[in-house]
């Protein structure tokens, strides 16, 4: 641990980053704030609306539904991806030539552009000509993700698991490879069971990286847009319309800029709040 010295001039190092990020973050954010509290009919003429849009969004069934779907989606993928990622990381070889092969192949989905991920799963799951859809239908399971909400949800979750479990695997694996061999030998001498080794040695060592994994997966799954719009377009009906998709529909589809801006702020605020809780917990852990 490095003992930091107090030095106010260190600000000079940070100024370029602050300026660049502030330019990108604050100006668009203020645009959103402008639209959220005012009504406009173009020509830069604005009328003060106060909290009208916020009340409208917070009281609308549409927002509640999208929000509930979002929570459900994020919970399901976290519940699948985190344990699955840990199991895979535990089963991976520790050394040897296969480690690199495994890591490269597993990291591959992470580097595929998001619209391609959506398109790839779309043609993979098409009921009549896709490998997944055709196989399921030919073994007698009625599956059509463009028509049935349940199929659409399963496909969406499968896609996300396919896309992001590797992130959890890589992180958990990084945590595991930092455990010295001596720990395992000591456990062996003590005659510890496989479960005891996991619970008392491996899990505590992975705690930090797993927090990062959960944080990243939470943030990204709350923002999911591109993959989903290509795969299902939010349908059938509104069954897979998560927050981002609903927002874009509202802003660009109906051009309801006021409610869309209010919804943006609420949406951003929710993500911030949950991440702040995570972040504080993480920092507390680190200081211990």
């Amino acid at each position: 641990m490095i003992i930091k010295t107090v030095k106010q001039t260190a600000w000079f190092f940070v100024v370029p980053v602050v300026l660049l990020v502030a330019f990108n973050a604050l100006i668009p954010l203020m645009t959103v704030v402008n639209y959220a509290f005012q009504e406009t009919f173009g020509d830069n003429v604005f009328f003060w609306e106060g909290l009208t849009w916020f009340e409208q969004v917070l009281n609308s069934d549409r927002f509640h539904d999208a929000f509930l779907r979002q929570i459900m989606f994020t919970s399901i993928i976290l519940l699948i991806e985190v344990p699955l990622g840990i199991v895979i990381a535990l089963s991976m070889p520790r050394k040897g030539p296969w480690v690199s092969v495994c890591l490269v192949l597993m990291a591959l989905p992470l580097l595929i552009p998001w619209n391609v991920v959506g398109a790839m799963w779309n043609i993979f799951a098409l009921p009549d000509i896709g490998l997944l859809g055709y196989t399921l239908n030919s073994i007698g399971i009625d599956y059509n993700f463009t028509q049935q909400p349940v199929s659409a949800w399963i496909t969406t979750i499968l896609m996300d698991v396919w896309h992001w479990t590797s992130l959890v695997v890589l992180l958990a694996y990084a945590g595991l490879s930092a455990i010295p061999e001596a720990y395992y030998q000591a456990a062996k001498i003590d005659g510890a069971s496989r479960w005891a080794v996991f619970k008392w040695i491996q899990l505590p060592k992975m705690k930090r990286v797993l927090t990062i994994a959960i944080l990243l997966r939470f943030m990204d799954s709350f923002m999911i847009y591109t993959e989903l719009i290509v795969l299902t377009g939010g349908g059938p009906g509104n069954s897979t319309t998560l927050l981002s998709i609903d927002l874009v529909k509202l802003a660009l589809g109906q051009f309801d800029l006021g409610p869309a801006a209010a919804m943006s702020l609420i949406y951003f605020f929710i993500v911030l709040l949950i991440c702040w809780v995570f972040y504080t917990l993480m920092m507390k852990n680190e200081q211990q």
Partner: protein
């Protein structure tokens, strides 16, 4: 390790490869064959789809445009993030912790929230439809990430290194470039990899900010849906080609990705 446990990664990798195999297989089929019915292998093997992409400038320019803004973004992000990360890892200053969290909040901003305001902002400063616009917009989430990763790696370098260099009479810029940067070279590599990755996969902002001159591959790919019905073969070939740059980059950093994902702090 028991046998069943060794099978877990194998099964997982097979699961990962299936959709990719399907994409590749489709890309070698003709549109007629794809729509004609299900076939596990291309019956009528064709390179037609790839030839079209490589001969039509509107297609291959999409790739060149995307790679251009991704590289620009990586260079900008790393250059700006290096001094900031150094300050965060070495010094305590007024508001440092709040600033660090504020930077991270930008990584949390949903791009869907910012798409429209970004369009207005970059149109207002006459940068709409240029590579630099996308490169700057992607800094929103890449700079915080780069600062976070680099700060982790820099905290692993003992402070004595800085002090020794100072005693030896190195000026600060010379110390930073000649001694400090080589010491965290793997960290810079990992941070660059992440910037490349997130800029390459992000498609909402890049599509919003470009139209003709700097049109990204994502925007180009939507063409397959509009012209002459739905050209699945062409779409598959275009998709398959987007995997290549990522695969090349992973190969180079394969020994560092695990460490990089933990942001250098395992």
């Amino acid at each position: 390790m028991p046998l069943y446990q060794r099978l877990v990664p194998v099964i997982y990798i097979l699961f990962l490869m299936l959709p990719i195999y399907w994409l590749l297989s489709m890309s070698f089929k003709t549109t007629n064959e794809i729509l004609g019915g299900f076939s596990l292998f291309p019956q009528d093997f064709t390179l037609e789809n790839y030839i079209e992409i490589f001969t039509d400038p509107t297609w291959y320019r999409g790739y060149l445009n995307s790679i251009t803004y991704v590289l620009m973004n990586t260079v900008i992000s790393i250059t700006f993030a290096l001094p900031a990360a150094y300050a965060f890892s070495r010094f305590r200053f007024l508001g440092d912790k709040h600033l660090f969290f504020w930077l991270l909040t930008n990584r949390m901003a949903p791009p869907a929230v910012f798409a429209l305001p970004f369009f207005q902002l970059y149109a207002a400063i006459d940068l709409y439809d240029t590579h630099i616009a996308v490169a700057l917009a992607h800094c929103l989430f890449n700079i915080p990430l780069a600062v976070w990763i680099l700060e982790g790696f820099m905290s692993g370098v003992p402070k004595q290194l800085d002090e020794m260099a100072y005693i030896d009479g190195y000026s600060f810029p010379r110390f930073f470039v000649k001694i400090f940067m080589p010491a965290i070279a793997s960290g810079i590599g990992v941070a660059a990899f992440f910037c490349f990755m997130y800029s390459w996969v992000e498609m909402l902002l890049s599509k919003t900010l470009t139209s003709v001159a700097a049109k990204s591959i994502a925007a180009t790919m939507t063409r397959t849906a509009s012209t002459a019905g739905y050209e699945l073969g062409l779409l598959a070939a275009a998709g398959a080609l987007t995997i290549i740059p990522g695969a090349i980059v992973i190969y180079f950093v394969r020994n560092y990705i695990a460490k990089g994902f933990s942001l250098g702090r395992v």
